[in-house]
């Protein structure tokens, strides 16, 4: 069965210069394995292809049932000089939750 990440997890975006980080946190820690296996850094890099220009590094936090994706060259040059309407990339978290995974 395919489900959107939004059904099992929530997310928040933060920014530092031209780097965006997106957390992916499961509501129920039993689902941590699902996101750990399905939401790889490659998958996230592919999903944001064209928006995120640099590497995507994934950090695992089994203690809170979360993954943290650190995406380089992701904010159009950084918060100050980006031409984007959402210079901080705050809305990227909502896009991450649209990813579908097989469970």
């Amino acid at each position: 069965m395919k489900i959107k990440l939004r059904e099992i997890a929530h997310s928040r975006t933060g920014d530092k210069g031209n780097i965006s980080n997106i957390s992916l946190i499961v509501y129920d820690e039993k689902d941590y394995k699902k996101i750990k296996e399905n939401v790889t850094s490659d998958k996230v890099k592919e999903w944001f292809k064209g928006i995120v220009k640099g590497d995507v590094q994934r950090y695992e936090l089994p203690n809170i049932g979360a993954l943290n994706f650190v995406m380089k060259d992701a904010l159009g040059g950084g918060v100050t000089r980006s031409l984007a309407i959402d210079k901080h990339g705050k809305s990227l978290s909502s896009a991450l939750l649209e990813i579908e995974i097989n469970v």
Binding site: L61, I64, L83
Partner: protein
């Protein structure tokens, strides 16, 4: 066992005042922290100070102090804030004036100095800039500010000298919260684990409402009550560094495992190495537990020795950004907006107007995720074309935005609500300097 209650009075420069007042009056707190400096705020404040040597502090400083000073003294709440921005001395003086006008007595107001290293900037010209990898030399002539991220040192000294109100410039955000904990519990600066725990508490609190249900709600998935009356957070901390995150009973918002987890990872890169000037915190063995409604306990957490170097944030005049917008409605709106974009593109080419970067967005269609992520494919009622361009030449920025405005009479049918703006952009570059290059000094005012 002694516990200390710290509240957040502001999580950004322009934050709401009511939650701060609520915390002071009803939160039974010992300290209230106003965190008001984003990455480039200080560069903008520095420019204000150049125009007027008595300015350069947070725009809302007077407003906030007017509202809270009497109540803080009455409720025995100490204030720590980075609202000093580029001018902590002027901020302390104006705070003293407000205290006097209110007839307050026995208040000691400290300003923490030393973060401003602009005078020494020439000696760092060979340093590599973190963001670009290039030498700082390349930005020479454009630099307007240079501020080191200080740790707790100056705030600690002020607390030891009996200050009631402490106003700083650039300080690492968590340090504003860590300093009173170190002071109250007499934590050893070499006790890396407890310092790490204190940094984590500071990190959870530094963005105010973001841990109590702000920047969180998503109807039907993550419901939050009364965000218009959002309560700001309180950390109730024990001397072993364990803490409860909560808020004033009856206030809007919520403190749950999920709000705390989201904030824990906010603006974090490697969660095992969260670098601050006071130590390196490790979140990977942290345990969160909801102990009651709106009460989450934070246990665990580790730390490592503070870095030898301090990060310096350098503000520099970077470029101009021009933005022009116009809306189209009804059937065919998207096609007309795309035609409008094409017209501007052709006009810029014809006139050989070249910019460093230009971006065409259709708001409602592709302004946030480009054409990469598409979820809806319905016809829209309305669409807004937004064209933004970056250039070093203000006149060119002007030409670009005028082309958007000219769509009124020269573009597709029914274009309305055109807006244009040009901003001079101050950007931020970071270098790392030896800790000893910074001389921290604390000044006092008394009423």
């Amino acid at each position: 066992m002694k516990t200390i209650r710290i509240g957040t009075g502001a999580g950004y420069a322009g934050d709401r005042i009511e939650p701060a007042i609520e915390l002071i009056e009803k939160g039974n707190i010992d300290y209230i922290i106003f965190e008001c400096l984003a990455e480039r705020t200080i560069a903008i404040a520095q420019e204000q100070k150049l125009k007027n040597p008595n300015k350069g502090y947070n725009d809302l400083l007077e407003y906030r102090m007017e509202k809270i000073l009497s109540s803080c003294q009455k409720n025995n709440v100490k204030i720590i804030t980075n609202m000093g921005a580029a001018n902590p001395i002027a901020a302390a003086k104006i705070t003293k004036k407000i205290a006097e006008e209110k007839g307050l007595r026995d208040l000691k107001i400290a300003s923490v100095l030393g973060d401003d290293v602009l005078e020494k900037i020439d000696k760092y010209m060979g340093y590599k800039v973190l963001e670009t990898g290039e030498e700082l030399e390349k930005l020479k002539g454009q630099i307007v500010s240079a501020n080191a991220y200080l740790g707790i040192d100056g705030i600690l000294e002020a607390l030891e000298n009996g200050a009631d109100i402490i106003i700083t410039g650039r300080v690492a955000d968590p340090a504003l919260f860590l300093a009173p904990l170190v002071y109250e519990f007499n934590w050893g600066l070499e006790d890396y684990e407890i310092i790490g725990k204190g940094i984590i508490i500071g990190h959870l609190l530094e963005c105010g409402g973001q841990v109590t249900g702000g920047y969180y709600a998503d109807p039907d998935y993550k419901d939050v009550e009364r965000l218009w009356e959002l309560g700001f957070p309180i950390a109730e901390v024990k001397d072993n560094g364990d803490a409860i995150i909560t808020k004033v009973e009856g206030s809007g918002g919520k403190v749950s495992l999920d709000t705390c987890k989201e904030q824990l990872l906010y603006e974090i890169h490697d969660p095992s190495q969260y670098l601050t000037p006071d130590g390196i915190a490790d979140f990977t063995n942290l345990h969160l537990k909801e102990v009651e409604k709106d009460k989450v306990s934070i246990k665990g957490g580790k730390g490592a020795k503070r870095p030898d170097k301090l990060k310096v944030s350098i503000g520099y005049k970077d470029c101009f950004i021009g933005v022009g917008e116009i809306s189209y409605g009804g059937s065919g709106a998207v096609k007309r907006a795309k035609l409008a974009a094409k017209i501007v593109q052709e006009r810029l080419e014809m006139q050989e107007i070249s910019v460093d970067e230009i971006r065409y967005d259709l708001i409602g269609i592709n302004s946030l995720y480009g054409n990469v992520i598409n979820i809806y494919d319905k016809e829209l009622n309305e669409v807004r074309l937004r064209i933004s361009a970056r250039t070093n030449d203000k006149d060119i920025a002007n030409k670009v935005v005028n082309e958007v405005e000219a769509l009124y009479t020269n573009g597709p049918a029914g274009g309305g609500g055109a807006e244009k703006s040009i901003k001079e952009i101050v950007s931020v570059a970071s270098i790392f300097i030896p800790r000893n290059d910074v001389d921290i000094k604390v000044m006092y005012e008394e009423v």
